[in-house]
Chain length 187, copies 2
């Protein structure tokens, strides 16, 4: 069972709230999830695929007149698939591909898999990010001598972005550890 990133985005949103295709399109076009296409040609076929895979269930609303409006909700299998995706360890490939997919997993992790799974995800991310950053620094050292100014600066941009990402990860870990301590303390 292979699911493209749009599929996971839809599953995560439907886990939060059952919605129609139109609702989901509005979320993509109006919020910071603009990275995902809001075109009907992407979303409706994607929903159809997820339904065929048994990960979501659609039900046509009947109450409000003749207006056909189909509300989708996530199924038990869909939740299981989503949880599996979120709790998988973060690989070097994941971080090399950029932050966005990992952040999508993280954004859903607390409500789908709970705070302890979220903390595990963050620790896995830190473990993947640390050697990546070291490798980038090494590559930068050897590049510094030969590349033109713009090439060197472009690399530095990626380097700074990765540093920021790692710092964010560490501060998020601290946040979740404090939350865990508080929960532990009140038991």
């Amino acid at each position: 069972m292979k699911i493209p990133s749009l599929g996971y985005a839809l599953l995560g949103l439907l886990h939060g709230k059952p919605s129609s295709g139109y609702d989901l399109r509005k979320i993509f076009s109006s919020t910071s999830m603009r990275t995902y296409s809001d075109s009907p040609g992407a979303i409706y076929p994607a929903l159809k695929r997820l339904q065929k895979q048994g990960l979501i269930v659609g039900k046509v609303e009947e109450g409000s007149g003749l207006r056909r409006r189909q509300i989708f909700r996530i199924s038990a299998r869909g939740i299981a698939e989503l949880k599996k995706w979120i709790t998988a360890p973060v690989t070097p490939e994941d971080v090399a591909a950029g932050a966005s997919l990992v952040m999508l997993r993280f954004a859903f992790s607390e409500t789908v898999a709970g705070p302890s799974a979220t903390l595990a995800l963050l620790r896995s991310l830190e473990a993947a990010l640390t050697p990546q950053l070291a490798a980038l620094r090494t590559e930068f050292e050897s590049l510094k001598k030969i590349a033109p100014t713009s090439g060197r600066l472009a690399f530095e941009c990626g380097l700074r972005g990765t540093e920021t990402f790692l710092h964010w990860t560490q501060s998020a870990i601290t946040t979740y550890e404090q939350l865990a301590a508080k929960r532990g303390g009140t038991v």
Copy 2:
């Protein structure tokens, strides 16, 4: 004439140095340009398309035995197309789509279009990035109250990344302004 991002990456690399498909694949797989696929199923068809569009020219090497090895070099039209792409103003959509495409343009800008075009690109980037960051901050303020911890932190990650990107842009502008002053001073 529409060219996908892989096409521009290939054009930029060929502008730097005439290369075979295999050479280009090695660059993608071994350097920090891993974001682009190194699969033959992507690169060879892309090269064929660029050649059909008259943007690159391929010539089969004859010197070294029977080993067929085709070297591609960029054509005058290809250089014009590349320059047009690099020097176009940075739109809000460009920055919303993420840093990678803009950075690809920047990485090639100095050798393809010269230092003054590079500085113009950076200023255009700063102009697009500044309102985008303000919009993200506004959205964050309204999100802070309602979202769960993980959703809030995920948004904050994007925010910090954009801040870092803007800071980098400003420091790069300074670098190029100093270069320009030095060149101007020695004339």
